[in-house]
Subunit: 264 residues, 3 copies
Amino acid sequence: MKEQLWKNISAVREKSPLVQSITNYVVMNNTANALLAVGASPIMAHAHQEMNDMVSIIGALVVNIGTLDDYWVKSMRMAIAQANLLGKPWVLDPVGSGATPYRNEVLEELLSLRPTILRGNASEILSLASNHSTRTKGVDSTHHSVEAMDAAKVLNQHFGSVVCISGATDIIVSGDRVIRLSNGHPLMARVTGMGCTATALTGAFVAVQPDAPFEATVSAMSLLGVAGELAAENSAGPGSLQVNVLDVLHTLNETEFIKRITIS
Amino acid sequence: MKEQLWKNISAVREKSPLVQSITNYVVMNNTANALLAVGASPIMAHAHQEMNDMVSIIGALVVNIGTLDDYWVKSMRMAIAQANLLGKPWVLDPVGSGATPYRNEVLEELLSLRPTILRGNASEILSLASNHSTRTKGVDSTHHSVEAMDAAKVLNQHFGSVVCISGATDIIVSGDRVIRLSNGHPLMARVTGMGCTATALTGAFVAVQPDAPFEATVSAMSLLGVAGELAAENSAGPGSLQVNVLDVLHTLNETEFIKRITIS
Amino acid sequence: MKEQLWKNISAVREKSPLVQSITNYVVMNNTANALLAVGASPIMAHAHQEMNDMVSIIGALVVNIGTLDDYWVKSMRMAIAQANLLGKPWVLDPVGSGATPYRNEVLEELLSLRPTILRGNASEILSLASNHSTRTKGVDSTHHSVEAMDAAKVLNQHFGSVVCISGATDIIVSGDRVIRLSNGHPLMARVTGMGCTATALTGAFVAVQPDAPFEATVSAMSLLGVAGELAAENSAGPGSLQVNVLDVLHTLNETEFIKRITIS
């Protein structure tokens, strides 16, 4: 398993997939740099006039609603429709799910378009699932991992998406399969957009193995977890961590990766 | 006084206030990271459909017109109206005041909505005040701190805002109270958005003490001044300074803060 | 020649020209920081209401279509018209030329407004030239420097622009003059927006010597090449390189510059 994950990481470095992100303004620079650091080629574009053409040349699409508005939601809709038409994988990051009714409405629509992969934190995943099950209680509930896991399963069943709940332990769910990853470092939560980076990397991995979105998600999350953990050891604070994560994503080797990864 | 300022810094770390920034594209990543580094929780959102809902859940609002346009100005207007309705504090950063008539018109309108706190450099504060007093001469005058201080007093009297003029010496004015802070480092002026970071941190502090905007402003400015000064000592240039400031904002302790702060 | 290039670098530091960038969201923070690091004063603004006023106060305009859409293209059009009216230099960065018909149409229009300087990578320059010559074959051709050079000459003849093809070797073409610069480091290609930084710096240099756009381009490209090369030697990966380039742009001295620059 661990050796296979490393092979997936090597495949991204070798194939340099083209990944389009329709994402929030806050993280664009970092997202592009993280994609470059793992060997992928980032594209950021949102003009309606070029959505169809752009999606035609990419390997995977990443949609992140962090700073959504009408124009950008239409860009997302157009790009997703084209990705679905062409059978290309796409990943959804439901930033701030539960914070406002507008976000919830947009997310409900995007979910109905059946993302290949859905990645959020426990609060976001619980909020999304609360519309589709009485078993989850939404963002006011205490976020035990048991509840979040139930929410992930509900979403996986309803929309067919591989669901990843990121946190101190990342949980990836698809059908009967569940993987837990326990790398990372608490300081990562003090850097903006670490979750968005996770989502973007997932896009790079699923671009390389479009028929194995579960494995792609596990590979991306394990790479970022190990890289964050290693980077944090040499970081004086969140500023250096943001920089060091990019360095480690670029330089990490198989031996170090295999030694560090904690998977179950 | 110094011990009280540190208590305010600790309060932000403990309470982790939710701060919404409607700010410019250039600094969003850094603003979010600076808020995270001091222990606050940043939100960036601007869609008209969610302004009322978002402002309902935050502790303070930060409005920065750096890359303004029609859509964003309407977002600012909506968010400010809701903040005023709910009695929540909001901070205005008048980036580029005086540069174009459009900026001046927008700022005149936003000022009339009576920001809790107003933070700008001497040129911006003088430009804003020139519409409300013949005693200040606008951006063409030589920016002696005496003139800037007069401008701050005019704006404080007209709009009730705590006014902060940032520079080599930061000056904070409210009614009869005036505080001067002399920390910081010249290299900070070579990093984009240091002023925007100051404004954002002021938002975090006033969220925690909404009834004491003067003290909140002094706390935020003293923290950034001390952090910038310490960070500059270990920085090889403006690139590392941007990184190191975030590290120090996160790791600064009371002893170091008390030792360094220069206040009068 | 080398001494003259350093004099141009010193002139930017001394004169601190005002450079307006209408650029993509991904690189705005880094572009502003790079301009500050070389001593220039960055402005980012795009509101239609202030384009004429803003362009009236700047030294040079930089237009970069990376994340273009209708609103921003109109901003570019307005700013360029005003720059041309006032005889101010402007620089075009044709990000993603050839990727979509929308980009190609917009670029064709912007080129017809005759940019003072045009900077892109070989693929972008070849794509632009393919509409104006049968001698170049567009982005599908193998990008030998001979072909790219032909493309640069075609564009220079058609639009009068100084053309810079950046890559392992930067080539700057204007009429009969051709300069090759061989500084830089492969790791620079793993940092997002290094090309955009090159374009922005070109804007700073042409603002200081508006009647010598060829020399300005050579100066900017040589500075970034040398700075990137020096920065890479102390960088553990692309994250630190992004930081270190800013440091070196700010601290580089004449001795080091003259020693390193490789020009022919």
